[in-house]
Structure formats: C-alpha cells, structure tokens
C-alpha cells in the first residue's frame, strides 16, 4: 500500500486514523480543560452563523425564535473549530501545492456543462435541503458519522446508513447519464 496517493495526498487510511487520534485527544482535552466532553461536529455552527447574519436584519426575530435561543448563539468551541477547519485546509493545500481555484467540479461539468449559475443553484438548493435534514437528524457526517459512530450511538448508525442510502440513490439519478 502506498503512503502517497496519486494526487499527492496522504493514504486515506492513515489520514483517517490520525483523525481518530485527534478525536480521542480532543474529547479528553475538552473534558479536562472545559469541564464538558465535546465531540467533533459541524452543523450546529451553521445555525449559529445563520443567526448572526439574520441578527443584522431582524435581531428581535432572532431573539424570539425558540430554536435559536435553545442553540445559544455565540462563538463557541465548535464555531472556532469550523474556522480552524478552513484554515487547516488552506495551510495544507498551499504547502503541498494542491490549492486550486475550481469553479465547476469535473463530474458536474461533464453532466451539466460549464454554467456557473447551474452549479451555484445546485450547490445552494442541495445545501438548503441537506442542512434542514442535518438539523432534524441532529447531526451531519461529522457529528453522526465520526463522533456518533465512535460512541456506537444507535441514532448514528441509522442516520449514517440513511445519509448514504439516500445519497447513492439521488447521486445515481442526478449524475449517471442514462445509456438507453
């Protein structure tokens, strides 16, 4: 098995295993330093970020919304985690020269052509549906997929199974050209 992949990345089993080590360290450090065990996750931060943006236009409305108040709108551990994820990816891609400005990904280009508007619409509408789903299911591939599975949570087995099953079905419809 090769350590470097053809695209210059690290072996995914190795990078994944290191992420497992990171999760263990993070769980331990948050418990001893913050007094509360925090698990890696991402989607709650989108709720907080949405509330911060919405506050600019309708601060009273945000203050009265029960979901926003229950989520506690503040720049917390996970919010900074997500900012860190952006920075970490930027650092990694700039240092190994894999940083690339990409407007349309190849699979999309082949199926839907080079229209930026189409890609933007797909990403935007997919994002709306996915985030409503993630908030309903109370997690995404980070919260359920990584953190929930590590704890053998029943809900995460079901959630991840459905993420994948629905994803395979929809991706098949959207990206596979029918060769009839």
């Amino acid at each position: 098995m090769k350590f470097k992949t053809d695209d210059g990345g690290w072996n995914p089993y190795f990078a994944g295993a290191l992420t497992g080590v990171l999760a263990i360290i993070s769980v331990y450090l948050t418990t001893i330093l913050l007094g509360k065990t925090n698990y890696l996750g991402a989607s709650t931060t989108f709720v907080r970020a949405a509330a911060f943006i919405e506050k600019i236009f309708a601060s009273e409305h945000v203050a009265q919304n029960i979901y926003f108040t229950a989520t506690k709108i503040r720049v917390d551990w996970q919010f900074m985690l997500i900012i860190g994820v952006f920075a970490g990816s930027l650092i990694s891609s700039l240092t190994d020269k894999s940083f690339k400005i990409e407007k349309i990904p190849p699979i999309w280009l082949e199926r839907f052509g080079s229209s930026m508007r189409k890609r933007a619409l797909g990403a935007f509408s997919g994002g709306i549906i996915a985030m409503i789903g993630a908030r309903l299911a109370d997690g995404c591939p980070s919260g359920h997929g990584l953190s929930g599975m590590m704890q053998l949570s029943v809900s995460s087995f079901v959630a991840l199974g459905l993420f994948f099953a629905a994803g395979v079905l929809v991706a098949g419809i959207v990206f596979k050209r029918r060769t009839l």
Binding site: W10, P12, A15, G16, L18, G20, L22, I24, V27, T31, L33, N38, Y39, L40, A42, T45, A51, I53, N65, Y67, M80, I82, G84, V85, S89, S92, S98, F99, I101, E102, R119, A120, A123, F124, S125, G126, G127, I128, I129, A130, M131, I132, G133, L136, A137, G139, C140, P141, M150, Q151, S153, S155, F157, V158, F163, A166, G167, V168, V170, V174
Partner: protein
C-alpha cells in the same frame, strides 16, 4: 479568545489539515463515493471511527470522559437522514467539508455554504412544526448500541472492526 475558543480553533486547524491531506473534501470524492466509484471518504471515515472508538471507550471505562449520544428520535432521524443524503448528493459537500473545500480553493463551495446557512435559518422557522409532528412520533432517547443490545461494548467493538476491515478488503480488491 477564551479557552474553549482557542482549543476549538487549534483542533479545527489539525482536523482541516488532515481532511485536506486525506483528499476527502472534494466534490469528486464525495460524489465518487455516492456513485460507488471512489471510496476514499469511507476509507478515511471508517479508519477514524475504529481508532477513535477504541480510545473513547477506554477513556469512558476509566471514567475520564462522558458520552454524548444523539437521541434516537425515529421520525427526526429517518426524515432528516433522507433529506440530508439527498441534499448532499446534489451539493457534493457536507457541512464540515464545505468549509474545508473553500479553504483549498473550491470556490463553488461558497454557494453550498450559503445554501446551508439558508437551510439553517429556515429550519429555525419550521422547528415548531417539526417538534409537534415528526419529532413527536417515537423517541428512544440517547442510547448506545451496547445498552440497546444488552451486550458489552468490548464484544461489539471487535466485531465492528472486523466488519470494517472486510469492507476495506472489498474496496482494495475492486480498486475503488
């Protein structure tokens, strides 16, 4: 910055670095997995899960950490899971990887992030409706597989790891 913010930021930088090195954040890899052509993201994710699982259960047995299960609310998990999967397949990113993808220059991830922020704002509006309907159907609460099955986690973990390794062998054999 407070302690929790600094800790979150540092953890995130390492997390983002590893996600990028694993090459799992790209649209091609995400959709590649859903088209069953390139299982890189599952190699990464399942490796992280088995390593993390062993460590987290040892820490938990030693009483050093607490679990944080997400509730097995049937309606919410099933409908939410299906919606997420469908949206994921069109967007080609998940919440965590969208931000990382933007970091490695995939600027179309911006629209995915904008969509997800809109989705989060919409969810906050629809939440009362969901709470009275789908979320009120049946809730088994915050349960783990060991409690649900009534067997020790140190029986389940080796079985889980064995199944994951079998899956890895299939991936390698088929070169996906």
């Amino acid at each position: 910055m407070s302690t929790d913010q600094i800790l979150g930021l540092l953890t995130g930088v390492v997390f983002g670095f590893l996600l990028q090195k694993g090459r799992v954040i790209r649209f091609e890899k995400q959709i590649g997995a859903l088209l069953l052509k390139d299982m890189t993201i599952f190699k990464f994710m399942l490796s992280a899960i088995i390593v993390g699982m062993i460590g987290i259960f040892i820490l938990s047995d030693a009483g050093l950490i607490k679990f944080s299960h997400k509730p097995m609310n049937v309606g919410a998990i099933v409908i939410g899971g299906i919606l997420f999967g469908g949206g994921w397949a069109i967007m080609g990113f998940c919440p965590g990887t969208s931000v990382a993808a933007l970091g490695e220059g995939r600027i179309h991830a911006f629209f995915a992030i904008a969509g997800m922020l809109t989705g989060a704002a919409l969810f906050a509006e629809i939440f009362p409706f969901f709470k009275e309907t789908v979320m009120s159907w049946k809730d088994y609460g915050k349960i783990g597989l060991p409690e649900a099955l009534g067997i020790s986690h140190w029986f389940i973990i080796p079985v889980f790891i064995f199944m994951v390794i079998m899956l890895f062998r299939i991936f390698e054999k088929r070169k996906i």
